[in-house]
Symmetry: C2
Subunit: 419 residues, 2 copies
């Protein structure tokens, strides 16, 4: 167990912080009565040299009872900046890490300022401390809950760093909530739908957490991965590649179905209910949602999709991806990741599945050639699976379409996940 030391940081760090904040600390470190009399912003620096990570604490002076909350938000806001002490010790600032690693918090009031003193576990050489799996770059309050901008190194993705967004609704402050995974389409990251998809508003009302993973590994260095928008980077297709060139990094199937949920349920065990998980997605991510659902009976309690690629073995996008990731000859592997093929081979399991909700815009440029929605609808009917496929007149393939129907999808998932 370590505790905060109030060692002075090297002058270069201090001047960087001063410059970034436009505040002059003067010759000494940390707590300055002169600064405290300024009406708005106060800064207090504590550097713990017994841990790898140093802490910059910024807090505001207020006359309300919410100082700590505000102080936390300032911490969070400040997390975007990274400073370096000497040559090897990064100072990043993560409120979430504080929360997780903190062993004691003491708060004192003096003058018109709060002092926040933090004691936290050592990262290394300590039997009691465990490293959090995720870095949290930002915590953003929205619709009463929190959007966490996470990153971590993924073993499934060959050790590469990957980013995601996690939305915790207000209900997660009081106990475990169900979780809805949203898989994004070609070229997207986990940011697009978090910003434009209109999922957070209804998830906040229904009390669902949302997970928005990335769409592929980034920076694998595999052949041709940056050459086109429908293969490689941004186009992982939620499979585990078997071709030599891609097998090490392109494992979004195992990443999304195993590694990511394991890490999330461990790290956010107080907030997320691992027995209540649903999955949805758009386009390539709709393909991902349907295939992950159909390949893992019981794992996902609910499923839906927007404009999904339902029959990739019969469209150009899927053929290009599967040829690259599995090899052109490996057709049996192709079928294992084709929702229309999978639903046809369900057998007895078909009857017990929850209803599959799909929305498809009729003014979607990709509908006729790439999405092949009718093939899945027909196969589901023949297999005896309840599929509610809704063709939406005039809607295209964009987030303006997704946002329109997101609330209905969230309610569809809530019906199963909160049952």
């Amino acid at each position: 167990m370590g505790s905060v030391t109030q060692a002075r940081p090297e002058p270069p760090v201090l001047s960087m912080v001063e410059q970034a904040l436009g505040i002059d600390f003067g010759p000494a470190l940390g707590f300055h009565p002169e600064n405290l009399r300024k009406p708005v912003l106060r800064i207090h620096i504590q550097l713990s040299r017994c841990a790898c990570r140093a802490t910059i604490i910024i807090f505001r002076v207020t006359d309300s009872a919410t100082e700590l909350g505000i102080a936390e938000e300032w911490l969070t806001t400040f997390c975007e900046a990274t400073y370096t002490v000497g040559s090897s010790t990064p100072i990043t600032h993560h409120h979430h890490h504080l929360q997780r690693q903190v062993t004691a918090l003491s708060i004192q009031q003096a003058l018109n300022c709060l002092f926040l003193t933090v004691h936290y576990a050592e990262k290394q050489g300590s039997s009691s401390g465990t490293m959090p799996a995720f870095e949290i770059a930002q915590t953003i309050r929205t619709f009463g809950g929190k959007l966490l901008k996470l990153s971590h190194k993924s073993a499934e993705l060959g050790g590469l760093e990957t980013k995601l967004n996690l939305y915790l609704p207000p209900q997660a402050e009081k106990g475990k909530v169900p979780v809805l995974f949203y898989l994004s389409g070609l070229t997207c990251t986990g940011d697009n739908c978090a910003e434009k998809g209109n999922f957070i508003n209804p998830a906040s009302k229904e009390g669902l957490a949302l997970v928005f993973p990335d769409t592929s590994p980034r920076g694998a260095g595999a052949p041709n991965e940056e050459d086109s928008w429908d293969f490689g980077t941004g186009a992982g297709f939620y499979i585990d590649a078997t071709s030599d060139a891609y097998a090490k990094h392109y494992r979004m199937y195992s990443y999304v179905t195993k590694e990511l949920p394991e890490l999330l349920f461990k790290e956010f065990g107080k907030e997320l209910d691992e027995s209540k998980v649903g999955i949805t997605g758009h386009s390539m991510g709709g393909h991902g949602a349907l295939t992950l659902f159909l390949r893992n009976p019981g794992k996902y309690k609910s499923v839906s999709a927007f404009s999904p690629i339902v029959n990739p073995i019969n469209c150009q996008w899927g053929q290009k991806a599967f040829s690259g990731y599995f090899g052109a000859e490996n057709k049996s592997k192709w079928s294992e990741h084709d929702a229309t093929e999978l639903i046809s081979s369900l057998g007895d399991k078909a009857a017990s599945l929850p209803e599959i909700l799909i929305d498809q815009g009729l003014a979607d440029n990709f509908y006729p050639d790439q999405l092949l929605t009718k093939n899945f609808e027909k196969a589901a009917k023949e297999a005896g699976v309840k599929a509610n496929v809704r063709y939406q007149d005039g809607y295209d393939h964009s987030y303006f379409f997704i946002s329109t129907f997101a609330e209905e999808h969230v309610k569809h998932h809530a019906k199963y996940l909160k049952a």
Copy 2:
């Protein structure tokens, strides 16, 4: 009055279209029985040489009753591409122009394909035809209504082209609806809030049209306009500049209060009710909303703002902008565009104003130094103006903040605009 001619376009045009669509028309133009038997996409080209503008009509084969709708959406989708006939006649394709200029539509069904024949007014040399003010690059269906991506040349902005978004809710199909202007903040265009602000969903329910203008002229070539993110391009501050270098183009005040509404109410006279207009905005756009409202009593029936710059003469952003656009010495001009100054000089008009709704996040980095919300709140109280200033704990300056409270703002405006 002109009518459609079915003249053949020059070969280069045809081959460009073929290339863009991946379709081979063969040696002849337009309607090919062979192409019609293909199951998905049909193209029919009609070039009217009596008008400046040529028309490319693309439609899909379906077996439902919605062919025309789909055909229109394909038209719209295709609008993003521009082809050139010869050297001087642009072929752009704008469904909206068709709607506005069309004098007759005839539809025939043959084989499994719809034929759409369009007769439209000549653009030049015709007493009956008038040019539409706006080009419509895209019409996107969302939340039951239409988002139009518009552009036009603005006289107020020195003849430069400017873009905006117009959302027409479903109610606008049946009659005039009230209009809410949303003014964006520094660095934004009219796109950000249309995509991320969560205004469209509640506007669709309440039956309000939304207008999202740009934040400055683009490409004026004025000194230093590209040098920083808080002055010049993306930072027009909703004023009419008087400094020589900016006076020709930087006239966002007159653009937003006069030119744009005049054009909109003329062009969309069937959809928009010019007697029911409200105004809102974020940050610099919140400054815009408050100052335009206070400077034009009666023009706006409702007003609100997110994180507004309420006292620009006393913050660095405002001082930099006003020094540049008005000159450092022209302090009386500065005060004419400062919401806190304006509200203090209302006199008898104060009592009759509608309530001003303001939301301000307490974890907003810009709140303490740039926004100065308390100054306005105090001045409003002293002036006897009803101002509901809500400080939102933990919220920052981003669209995650705006989207959270957008619905309440839309309802605030609807209360006045639908009274």
